[in-house]
């Protein structure tokens, strides 16, 4: 069965570099039973059931029978999903079938699917109960609510309910309800100093007072907010469509296993963050040091924590969800839709990236300004070579158990984080989009920089 898993994983690796109509996908069934071996054929119950299992398996999956499962469930550490008893052709008794989940990702996917199913069923049940209860409550005590309506303090908790189910309740306390709707808006406006009038609508006959407060509240924070956002120079962002790609390579142990990842749409900066961009953060006292160097050179000597500080400031100043890219997003962007060793092919070419012994700028002052080399097929510059780039993920020695949804991989050794791209001081093997390395989270090094991402 381990053989089956290995075959399937290798096929994923093989198919990765091919268009879909050239893919070869196996279905594998494994069973334990009597096998009759003859010179030119094998047959018997054992083979027949295995064949049937193979028949019901999904392409790329390994299905095993109950007999196999009983033998190996505690020996081979991977997940199994029970598919129950299946009646198969020409076999008298139904066969218990298990689907093999070779890695933690597949296991958690299945678990998540089950959890979501359970949760949605549960929430459906809860909704039905809640609906029933509401109907019961609202159907009967509408008379009682009408009794209570004159007491103003009691109407305070009503607005939430009136929003959910308007018809029966709005009718009796019509006058206070309209007043309450207005102050309800207030918590949304940040730093509204007029939070005090909250209690006032309880006293009827003073509608003008809270209304004027509400009118002024949204205006005052908006006016200083708008020019502040435009003052910050935003990095040039390139929106990327999501998609599925094959992450990793077989070149280094840390890049294995090769696995499929699905990326959601996001935007990534066209260039690494520059000294000019960094120093705006430093000027705003949000970043701890002022970077030296030319304005359009990438900022260097930043730790992961420094990079996080910058994106935190950028997100707050622009009110947009700026962040560091995840490791998967970085590789997806760096590959630019290619599956070759480098984004331009399998051979090193001079002038494509800023790395040791592979660029003509060896004598130039380093790091050279951003965008000095050719962009990759996505139009992104310096995705490989130039400066090392921090990503959001904590360091893991291999991709064993890595998420397949493109999200950053948090758990693990978070005293160090992942760096990508390789720098001008690393050789060509570090320029490969699959190449990955790590460095201490809080330590600065002169070749380390970063680029930013933006959630849609």
């Amino acid at each position: 069965m381990r053989c089956g898993i290995v075959i399937q994983q290798n096929m994923v690796g093989r198919n990765a570099s091919l268009p879909k109509h050239h893919w070869i996908e196996y279905r594998i069934g494994v069973n334990l039973g009597d096998v009759i071996i003859e010179a030119d054929d094998i047959y018997g119950d054992g083979v027949n059931i295995a064949t049937r299992l193979e028949g019901i398996a999904e392409p790329g999956e390994v299905y095993i029978s109950g007999g196999i499962y009983e033998q190996i469930k505690h020996k081979l550490v991977c997940g199994y999903e029970s598919l129950g008893d299946r009646k198969v052709k020409n076999i008298t008794d139904p066969v218990r079938v298990y689907r093999v989940l070779p890695d933690a990702a597949a296991y958690s996917r299945t678990r998540k699917r089950r959890e979501t199913l359970l949760i949605s069923l549960l929430s459906l049940a809860l909704l039905v109960i809640a609906g029933g209860a509401l109907w019961y409550l609202l159907g009967q005590p509408s008379i009682r609510v009408a009794d209570r309506a004159p007491a103003p303090s009691q109407t305070q908790p009503n607005p939430a309910a009136t929003q959910a189910v308007p018809p029966p309740q709005t009718a009796p306390p019509a006058a206070p309800a309209t007043q309450q709707a207005a102050p309800n808006v207030q918590p949304v406006a940040p730093t509204a100093p007029q939070a005090v009038p909250k209690q006032e609508p309880a006293v009827p006959g003073q509608p003008a007072e809270p209304k004027s407060g509400v009118a002024s509240a949204p205006v005052s924070p908006a006016t200083p907010g708008a020019p502040r956002a435009s003052a910050v120079r935003e990095p040039e962002m390139l929106p990327l469509r999501g998609g599925t790609f094959v992450m990793g390579s077989n070149d280094e142990a840390s890049e294995k296993p090769v696995h499929q990842v699905t990326i959601k749409p996001f935007a990534i900066s066209k260039y690494p963050t520059t000294v000019r961009e960094w120093n705006e953060c430093a000027a705003a006292k949000a970043c701890t040091f002022t970077a030296a160097g030319k304005d359009d050179a990438p900022v260097t000597n930043v730790s992961w924590s420094d990079a996080r500080q910058f994106v935190g400031w950028l997100a707050a100043a622009t009110q947009k969800p700026y962040r560091l890219p995840s490791e998967a997003e970085w590789e997806y962007a760096a590959r630019g839709g290619t599956q070759s060793k480098y984004w331009w092919g399998d051979q090193l070419q001079p002038g494509m990236a800023n790395c040791k012994n592979c660029a003509d700028v060896a004598t130039a002052e380093q790091p050279v300004k951003v965008g000095s080399f050719k962009p990759n097929p996505f139009g992104l510059y310096d995705m490989g070579g130039g400066i090392d780039q921090w990503v959001e993920d904590c360091w893991h020695k291999t991709y064993q158990g890595a998420p397949s949804d493109g999200s950053p991989w948090g758990a693990g050794d978070c005293s160090s984080h992942v760096i990508r791209s390789g720098s001008w001081r690393n050789d060509a093997t570090y320029v490969r989009p699959a190449s990955r390395n790590s460095y201490d989270t809080n330590v600065r090094y002169p070749t380390h920089g970063f680029r930013v991402a933006l959630s849609p």
């Binding site: 280094e252 005293s415 001081r425 460095y439 201490d440 809080n442 330590v443 090094y445 002169p446 070749t447």
Partner: protein
Amino acid sequence: MKFIRLVMLSAALTLLSFAAQAQGKPAGKDAVLYFVWPQNGTTIKGGFWCRFGLRNMGVTHAGDDFQNSGHHHLLIDVNEPLNPNEEIPSDKSHLHFGAGQTEARIELPPGKHTLQLVLGDAKHYPFNPPVVSEKITITIK
């Protein structure tokens, strides 16, 4: 092979003689950098904890500019001589321990490997003169 080694050695020695003009901070008096484990010639099965020893100087974070202290770097299978005028490189054969670590879990493919420790200052430059350990050879089974 022997010739290449001799060339390497002489290159290393010439570089060391230039170390007088190095960027690095002055090394502590009688500073000794050494491997607590493994020792030269050890044969090890699988991964191991490599433990770094330092006498007459202190270990601190990278970036902390304290007198007479630095942080560890482990050089694995590195044959190029150390350049005292450049930061200690950071790649898969130059491991940095800028958080002040004094040990590390190392996993290497089977075969012979060399290990050497280099102490770096706050800015990752070697000290002047460089504080380096003996270059040891270990075998992974």
